[in-house]
């Protein structure tokens, strides 16, 4: 995104729209700071500028295009043909059966809510999880960025790209749930220089129950009272 200074009247009405605060006043111009902009498209779509001074490049070059892939929900990830953050995770688990009763899915989202992240922070998480022996979800846009699955190394040219959020998804054995939580949470708190949202995905038994809730409560691990539930209607 950029602002055409020949059209901009410097009203600054667009400034509060930017989720990462990349629209700023500089000398006598209003600019979108290119290093901070995550290419989410919000300022453009909001249609706030009466002069249409906010512009979107016709074609964003690589590796900058990665910003849009991870930040603009209107953009479809080419590798997996899914828009949004590019992952279906448990939303279609009644079709894909990606998560089974003997597994727990971890969804580790960096940058959300509203802080953003550089992809080198994502690499830290991917490397940490790789060292713990996890399997990463292949139908996730993070997966094609991994160039070495033995170390979790990402493509070097994307590391400094800033995105609104990126989700590392992986599964662990059901029996390993607590050990992963106890190792990962301190790592996020001490090593990651942005916010990290952590979610679990648990397949129910035939009675619609999961033992995860009781296990979390027993171990005094807090969780939200609200969440998502797939009702399994795709196969009924």
């Amino acid at each position: 995104m950029f602002i055409d200074s020949t059209l901009c009247e410097r009203c600054m009405d667009c400034r509060p729209l930017c989720p990462v605060g990349a629209i700023r006043a500089r000398k006598k111009e209003v600019v979108i700071v290119q290093d901070e902009c995550v290419e989410c498209g919000t300022c453009f779509r909001y249609n706030i500028c009466p002069n249409s001074a906010i512009k979107q490049l016709d074609e964003i070059p690589y590796p900058r295009i990665v910003r849009a892939h991870f930040s603009d929900p209107a953009m479809t990830h080419e590798s997996i043909d899914v828009c949004g953050r590019g992952t279906e995770e448990m939303k279609t688990n009644d079709v894909t059966h990606s998560y089974t009763e003997d597994q727990i899915g971890f969804s580790v989202e960096l940058g959300r809510p509203g802080v953003g992240t550089r992809l080198y922070e994502l690499e830290k998480v991917v490397q940490k999880a790789t060292s713990m022996g996890v399997d990463f979800a292949e139908d996730n846009p993070v997966y094609p960025l991994i160039i070495d699955h033995s170390t979790g190394k990402l493509r070097p040219e994307v590391l400094n790209e800033k995105v609104l959020s990126a989700i590392a998804e992986f599964t662990v054995k059901r029996s390993e749930l607590l050990s992963f939580i106890s190792e990962l949470i301190p790592f996020f708190n001490n090593q990651i220089e942005t916010v990290v949202t952590v979610s679990l995905i648990a397949r129910c038994d035939k009675n619609g129950r999961v033992s995860v809730f009781e296990e979390l409560e027993r171990n005094r691990i807090a969780f939200y009272p609200n969440g998502k539930v797939n009702l399994g209607l795709a196969n009924i």
């Binding site: 400034r15 509060p16 729209l17 989720p19 605060g21 919000t42 779509r45 909001y46 929900p73 209107a74 043909d81 828009c83 949004g84 953050r85 992952t87 995770e89 448990m90 939303k91 279609t92 688990n93 009644d94 079709v95 894909t96 998560y99 969804s107 940058g111 959300r112 809510p113 509203g114 802080v115 139908d139 959020s165 996020f188 990651i192 220089e193 942005t194 916010v195 990290v196 949202t197 952590v198 979610s199 679990l200 995905i201 129910c204 035939k206 009675n207 129950r209 999961v210 995860v212 939200y224 009272p225 609200n226 969440g227 998502k228 539930v229 797939n230 009702l231 399994g232 209607l233 795709a234």
Partner: protein, 203 residues
């Protein structure tokens, strides 16, 4: 709504009637389910959701139906369980073969499932936010911004709207519309956002 499970400000004491409904076609089935997702869109729209995908972009409801195969997904917000129970009943009658996800208090989902004689299939449970949480805005602001799963509602926009409502330049109703606009998935709850604005502007 990848991260609607991370909505904050929802508890058993307040805002407990909000239910986000998501109907999603697995990406490999998009072509074969094109008519099914159109039918699903018709059904969801007939229950008058508080908000629905595309509406914040100014897309008319009749056009949402035609665009739904390319979305591969329909997302909508409701504010009462009774409506969602009826909605699910009609979805089941039509047997469209599309995944349906509810995002709400788990207790609400349990009740709805019970009334529909359904059992839950898969849960998505949030453990919360870790790392540099000092970078987050205050809780009231988060209860608005986290309604957009893609985090497109800026805290600065919330502050601006609250200032305008406080000054009497904007109604809370109009403020809620402006705050819902960045969320292309249409899952910002207009009714709840209006209530939060009134709380923040009055505080």
């Amino acid at each position: 709504m990848t991260h609607s499970q991370n909505r904050t400000g929802i508890s058993h004491d307040s805002d407990n009637n909000e239910i986000v409904v998501l109907c999603m076609v697995h990406f490999k089935q998009k072509a074969e389910k094109a008519e099914a997702i159109k039918k699903m869109t018709d059904i969801v729209l007939s229950y008058s959701p508080d908000n629905i995908i595309g509406r914040p972009l100014g897309i008319k409801d009749e056009d949402i139906r035609e665009l739904s195969p390319s979305f591969g997904i329909i997302t909508a917000v409701f504010n009462d369980k009774e409506t969602v129970v009826k909605l699910l009943s009609e979805i089941r009658e039509n047997n469209l073969g599309i995944s349906v996800v509810l995002s709400s208090l788990f207790a609400n989902v349990r009740e709805i499932c019970h009334r529909q004689n359904l059992t839950e299939h898969t849960f998505n449970i949030s453990l919360g936010v870790f790392g540099q949480t000092e970078k987050l805005p205050d809780d009231d602001t988060l209860s608005i911004t986290t309604q957009c799963g893609h985090a497109l509602v800026a805290p600065a926009l919330v502050r601006k709207i609250i200032r305008q409502v406080k000054k009497g330049d904007l109604t809370s109703d109009d403020g809620a519309v402006l705050l819902a606009k960045p969320c292309v998935c249409g899952i910002v709850n207009h009714t709840r956002t209006k209530r939060i604005i009134e709380h923040m502007a009055g505080g």
